[in-house]
């Protein structure tokens, strides 16, 4: 497994609509190349509300920040979690060849790409996005790292 990019600057939001948070650019993940992208996420206390994270490949949101996917619980407490996106670079007839696994406190979800195909030849940018359920709480994300695996 080879590290191919990362971003260790935390980004936070109190936005009720999806915004970009952490970006890893200048990637070159070709079709069928296995990859793993991982990041930490957290929410603050302040209201009984959850936060949702999602993911964008190049400029396309492929996992919407939706409840029950990369989500925390809604208890009024600080929570943190970890998300892993496993995939293979876009493959003909397999445009959704990726998935996420996320866990935070008492929530854990495995999620397919629910928003759009990866209709591209090469992945150059992986972007985490997110939103909060109540502007009294903050979503933070940090330490997004991307790895590729060999296939021979």
């Amino acid at each position: 497994m080879t590290w191919v990019g990362g971003n260790t600057t935390e980004a936070t939001t109190t936005s009720l609509t999806a915004v970009d948070l952490i970006t890893v650019s200048a990637l070159s993940i070709a079709g069928a190349v296995p990859f793993v992208a991982q990041f930490s996420y957290r929410k603050t206390s302040g209201a009984a509300a959850l936060v949702n994270s999602g993911g964008k490949v190049n400029t396309t949101i492929v996992i919407a920040p939706a409840t029950g996917e990369i989500s925390t619980g809604s208890t009024n407490q600080a929570e943190s979690g970890y998300a892993s996106l496993y995939g293979e670079g876009p493959i003909t007839n397999y445009p959704r060849s990726a998935m996420s696994v996320a866990g935070a406190f008492t929530t854990q979800y495995a999620t397919g790409l629910d928003s759009a195909d990866m209709s591209i030849a090469t992945i150059t940018d992986l972007v985490s996005d997110g939103l909060v359920g109540n502007a009294s709480i903050t979503l933070g994300q940090d330490d997004l790292h991307v790895y590729t695996l060999t296939t021979s």
């Binding site: 497994m1 069928a32 296995p34 919407a64 996917e69 496993y86 995939g87 293979e88 493959i91 007839n93 397999y94 445009p95 959704r96 060849s97 990726a98 998935m99 996420s100 696994v101 854990q108 979800y109 495995a110 999620t111 397919g112 790409l113 629910d114 928003s115 695996l149 060999t150 296939t151 021979s152």
Partner: protein, 156 residues
């Protein structure tokens, strides 16, 4: 993590009984050696119907291609997704040391789940063959699997 085998020839089926799909053979995964399997899978549109994917190790079905396992959403749409199957070579008395996670999507729907080995104990190591299995509930749709790779992880 070391790549130890792969298969990049797609296999598809419209069978309503479980059949072998893509396989990686000639492995030699010894007792207690951690392994990771990745593959992609897809279903075509054609009917509101389910498709299920499972796994066989050597000749033993360890994860059924059945309800409650790895599946599409059932919607009449093209879908594709990713499966990760990890575990380790069998070491008595740890006989079902593995599990799968998957996610599949199409349109604006998705499904994802974690699956344990529901059908049988892993065969005695070494693990030589890892085979994906598949079935569809309606022959009007096709289930395909491709780009399967197997890795082992060091233990020291």
């Amino acid at each position: 993590m070391t790549w130890v085998g792969g298969n990049t020839t797609e296999v598809t089926t419209t069978s309503t009984t479980v059949v072998d799909l893509i396989a990686v053979s000639s492995l030699s995964i010894g007792a207690s050696i951690p392994f990771l399997v990745i593959l992609v899978f897809r279903t075509t549109a054609g009917a509101i119907a389910d498709a299920f994917l499972g796994f066989k190790i050597n000749t033993t079905v360890v994860m059924s291609a059945a309800v409650g396992g790895i599946s599409n959403t059932g919607a009449n749409q093209a879908e594709s997704g990713q499966v990760i199957f990890n575990g380790r070579g069998t070491a008595d008395p740890y006989l079902r040391v593995g599990g799968a996670i998957y996610g599949m999507g199409g349109g604006t729907t998705q499904i994802g789940l974690q699956i344990g080995p529901d059908n049988a104990n892993f065969p005695t190591a070494p693990l030589t063959d890892i085979v994906s299995l598949g079935v569809v509930s309606n022959a009007a749709i096709s289930l395909g699997s491709d780009e399967m790779h197997v890795y082992t992880q060091a233990t020291s």
